[in-house]
Symmetry: C2
Subunit: 471 residues, 2 copies
Amino acid sequence: MNPTVNLDCFMSPRSVAVIGVSRKTGKGSFNLIENMLAFGYEGDIYPVNPMADEILGFRTYGAVSEIGKPVDLAVVSTPREQIPAVVEECARVGIEAAIIVPQGFADADEVGKGLQRELSRIARQRGIRLMGPNTLGTVNAFSGFTSSFMPLRREKVPIGVICQSGIFLVGSTLFTGMTGKGIDLGNGCDLDFADALEYFGQDHDIRVIFMHIEGLDHGRRLLDVAKRVCMKKPVIAFKTARTEAGAHSAASHSGAMAGAYDICRSALEQAGVMVISDPAEIADITKAMLRLHPMQGNRVAIVTFTGAGGIILIDALTTCGLKLAVLSSQTLSRVAALSPSWLTVQNPLDVWPALMVHGMEHVYPAVLRSVLEDPGVDGVICIAIAPDLPDQAYLDATGAIEQVADACPKKPVVAWLYGANQECVSRNLERSGTVISVAALPRAARVLEALYRRHLFLRQTAPYIPGKPTG
Amino acid sequence: MNPTVNLDCFMSPRSVAVIGVSRKTGKGSFNLIENMLAFGYEGDIYPVNPMADEILGFRTYGAVSEIGKPVDLAVVSTPREQIPAVVEECARVGIEAAIIVPQGFADADEVGKGLQRELSRIARQRGIRLMGPNTLGTVNAFSGFTSSFMPLRREKVPIGVICQSGIFLVGSTLFTGMTGKGIDLGNGCDLDFADALEYFGQDHDIRVIFMHIEGLDHGRRLLDVAKRVCMKKPVIAFKTARTEAGAHSAASHSGAMAGAYDICRSALEQAGVMVISDPAEIADITKAMLRLHPMQGNRVAIVTFTGAGGIILIDALTTCGLKLAVLSSQTLSRVAALSPSWLTVQNPLDVWPALMVHGMEHVYPAVLRSVLEDPGVDGVICIAIAPDLPDQAYLDATGAIEQVADACPKKPVVAWLYGANQECVSRNLERSGTVISVAALPRAARVLEALYRRHLFLRQTAPYIPGKPTG
């Protein structure tokens, strides 16, 4: 098989044959053409359904052979038994790409497993490339195409998602936050992770790639591709089926072998992929990779309103292999000049006593600037209040954080804001694009760890062992 | 010292002397009386400030000895050097309780440490009970009292918070979710965890207790109290300063010794306390303890729209020492009757194929009821969609989840809803009070683990080893 597959037919087809599309439309019908139109697809659509003359205003064909015009992509949703013959016919009429939507193949019984082997054989012999079965297919917010029968939001963000389940497209808010382009490999009877990763690696619309990996069949080829792609753009992976019980269940979901987690993880990490085990961290790290500079060392400064928050964070930093920066005497004396004499000024920098006396605007920008300019500091975490009420502006450090971080883009700044208004204040803080804000404090440390690992990978330094401070 | 201290004077004082209160009021002044009034305090307030005649309409006294009326509680905010003398004077005029707000004691330099020793000595010798120093003091949404100079929300929820930092009161949305009554022990020169825990243990307004523990001085006494209180109500602890670096920093925050984390954790767990290490889980577990029944075994069923979600969850369940329930043939055949013949019906129950054919209302309630009535199931996790748009009601399982869970209150039901609308749909789902919803999937497993451990503690069965399935 061609090692670099052009997936343009899957992502931006000029014309689509939708085979086995339902005559039912409207709520709960999961009509694929209806969803395609709602998403904004403007190419040609050829419904294939021998039982109908017209679907959603489109003339309907009895078979793909009757279309008689060039078709870039077939999206197939017929009953599973008919699919091998349908795909053969597509190949015969010159269609080079097909998405096989239905379940009931390697994810199901012996009959299904046999049908999937048949699909793999057809792809190999006829040269038609297949995505799925058991897939939502693709989504492309840039071209306006999707083969998903589930409603999806369209947002032109430079994030490419490769997954083995539609949940990462339907529920992307909870994972990558957004999806600019997505490929659901499903059971992967033909196209696999390496193909999709190679494609997004060369796609100028995509700046960060996320992969949900349940199981892997062609691990070595993926690692070869990953090594190349990771040099160009960050690749994040969420590996599931980590436990024996999870792997057992995966065999009947996507039909893939999960393999030993530790081996898989370390192989991916050596190739430069960031492997995440807590799904709550996916959005943070995706956002960080898009917006923040890799962190050039592991020395972190904390600017905090609360000693307790600093301590929670130190626990997390230590666990992530990062360490507390030793601040320069210049930085320390600047902060000491604003603080009461009894305060032991050290990292974490507790700025609350200074704020109480001098007020936010006289303290926060000066302290954060000193810290970011300190040559012993590689990144900063700000612990501050998300003011609850509009009249609590005197408690609001976010304006200062945004402004100072903007001026020092080479050192990453991550904020954790506490209070009932966290979500709203965080969203405002992130508008400038040079700071990110996390929902839970330990996740700030995980973000900086990822940015540090990205730096180490790019510099091709010695392998980094998590949990062991390197400096 | 009296082992059971009545903290009513601290929580619901009829009269308060506010010593060292500022004349400044309004935004950014952190005026303690202003905040007390905003919170709804209706008792008598006696400001003590020799530099003023009147503060916020209250007659001001030059010293506590001039008040000449009964005072339940003194809240002290003078410069630190004056505080031992102020507390002596309070004791002399018969005040039995004082909150020492300022920083600069064991959290600071040698002078501060000496002053704190002095405060401990006065408390011991004069019988006056002291909270702090370095504290916001108390908050009581039921009585309407707070000594906090930071604005707090007032919500009469049955959650008691004991902490060593005001962040758990100011930022409670991000920790316990809400605070009905709170005690910030600060540096703990006199009153400590055992006192506060004993008090909340006997408080009928409080049904769940949360403790933020940075360091512990009287561990043995706390464990004795915890053992008794945990038999009556759930106690959750978030232990920080877990790492060496964190413990080192804690010494200069609350001035407490952190001790070895593993020993502390296992001692607390043996006493029945639920120890949490990820702050993101505090709100989930607090909510679960308030609303759900302890889980009487470790056999969990998963009802899911997505195979991939089921697999993520199996990984988490295994890590938490829980296991996949083996469903009865009756349950399996009920689900099989609704599903396509190729589907291998097993736990996790993927109901998506059945939904696609029969629709939500014919599938979801029947399946969930079968599972909850299955004698081999102790708890259920539902993975479903949080519909994004109002016209996606055909995708909404939350009505069915709520209704069925309501009818089976003895088995806990936890939901994870995916989609952009998660927060809003989750909030609606939780209104009935018999289901809880988590933001990230692995947290559903952590909640059930906590409910199972609660059951084991109450039954006084063999100690439970996390990570090792017991059945």
